[in-house]
């Protein structure tokens, strides 16, 4: 794998709170998913890679460029598409005007070329028929798709997407996944998500970040395998202190030691993730 994103000894703190203390990662072409509980540092890592935030120490290289150097930082930005976790948009702009504005910021100075790129981005996120609509009149899902569209402008080589499918209905989520999957064929796409279904559907690699460390790095199927032999279905709630929840058919899905009367179940990525993060949380609690 040729790494387009290299992270070596990455450190970042907010005051006394240390988020990362020497993180090492290499990421290449394709779709890589970043999973982790709230506050685990996913957004901080993505913001640093997107050049919105500087690291405290360590080395970041995006397409070989160092974001600490102002000139190289601009080179990264020329090749970057970024969807922030909470993207703000100008409510008084139309969808077209907003993308036109971002395209200008991305140095698309020729008006005709810029407008063509804007039309393509709107079509990609299925908003071509909302081009003239003011942002404030768009639904939450549409605004999120518009925010994704701005990340696609300028044909970026690296796409950093913080929760790209949040707030979308199932059909739009499916379309968004198809688009991201297509983009990942020739680009580096790094996405952070809480949706394990997104990881299953999109990512060839998943990285679980927990308390500033890489808790897991591998294929989604390998993450699911972590729960193999530790997932059970029972008719009654377990009494052994295992993690469990009730399913739609009034049975109990139990993660951990085999409960009385438990029958083995096939684990999903979510089970593997809970096995990993849950056990660490229990150990450190």
């Amino acid at each position: 794998m040729t790494a387009t994103v290299r992270i070596t000894g990455f450190r970042k703190s907010y005051g006394a709170v240390r988020v990362f203390d020497g993180l090492d990662l290499n990421i290449g072409t394709g779709v890589t998913g970043l999973l982790g509980p709230n506050g685990s540092g996913k957004t901080t890592l993505l913001r640093c890679l997107a050049t919105a935030l500087a690291s405290d120490a360590g080395e970041l290289r995006i397409l070989g460029y160092d974001p600490r150097d102002p000139g190289q930082r601009t080179e990264i930005r020329r090749r970057l598409g970024y969807l922030p976790q909470d993207p703000g948009l100008y409510p008084h702009f139309t969808s077209f005007e907003l993308l036109d504005y971002v395209a200008t910021l991305k140095e698309l100075t020729d008006r005709r070329e810029r407008h063509r790129a804007v039309r393509q981005a709107l079509t990609d996120v299925d908003l071509a028929d909302r081009a003239k609509m003011k942002v404030r009149k768009l639904s939450g899902g549409m605004r999120h798709r518009l925010a994704l569209a701005q990340a696609l402008l300028g044909d970026p080589h690296v796409l950093i997407l913080d929760e790209p499918t949040v707030g979308l209905d199932p059909e739009q989520r499916m379309r968004q996944r198809a688009l991201i999957s297509r983009l990942g064929e020739s680009r580096t796409v790094l996405l952070s998500t809480h949706q394990t279904e997104d990881v299953t559907a999109l990512c060839e690699r998943v990285i679980v970040v927990f308390r500033g460390e890489v808790g897991f790095d591998g294929a989604p199927s390998a993450l699911a395998e972590l729960a193999a032999g530790k997932l059970w279905l029972t008719a009654e709630p377990p009494t052994g202190g295992q993690l469990y929840w009730r399913t739609g058919d009034n049975r109990y899905r139990v993660l951990g030691a085999r409960p009385d009367g438990g029958t083995p179940a096939t684990p999903s990525i979510e089970d593997g993730y809970l096995m990993l993060v849950g056990s660490r949380a229990w150990v450190s609690a």
Binding site: P70, G88, L98, V102, R112
Partner: protein, 273 residues
Amino acid sequence: MTWHIPSDMLADYQDGRLDSVRTMSVEAHVSRCEPCRSAFAPDEQWLVGSWDGVLDVIDQPRRGMLERFLCQLGIPEDRVRLLVATPALRRSWLLAMGAVLLFAVLSARLGEGDSPRRFLLFLAIAPVLPVLAVAAAYGPHVDPVHEIQVTTPMAGPTLLALRSTAVLVTSLLMGVVAAAFLPAPGWLAVAWLLPALALCLASLALSTAMAPQVAAPLLGGCWVAALVVAVGLSDNEFVVFGPAAQAGYVLAGSLASTILIWRHRRLDPGERR
């Protein structure tokens, strides 16, 4: 169809050598005759280009008054698009600045007696407004799109300089217009200009070390404090607008410009300082 257009006539038509009557005749025939129509090789490049041109006109965002005005001044269209998004150039901001200046002018005009002290409020406020406008031109707390734009190649010094210049010119012009209604001696009505420029340059220079939204209020506060001290301690309350002070503002402005040029690459609020 019982007849078809002769090949030499088709060639003449394509080359534009037919007169208008024959041209119309050929076009009328071609619109109904598939074999003759297929004789024309479609020019894909021309077609795509024309269609793009049509879409370009349809999609052209409607320009507001400010945008049209800036275009008429000869500013390139792509730069104008960046300027009109400046938070401090929005109507609400301009109205607020206008209201503050109007209040200062009215207090000077309606103030009792002939004491020049009644001009002090205007002279205190006028240099601070451009500084605050510059601070509100770019940054995470004043611009909803900041998180997106800070990761684009135009982010940082380029965009900040562009927007700061725009709001500085606008706020200075508003100040000059307000000063014209001030019943003060000529020199007093413009005595705020150099302090305003010096404060703006100093706030931008300071923004290379801290957020503009911290630098601007800090300097604005220092200015008001200096004014209060001067009025309280000096026999001449206008000492901060006198010739010596004005020379000091020129010097301070030059120093701030030098720092700004030297450290302009650090004008990137996305970065840790």
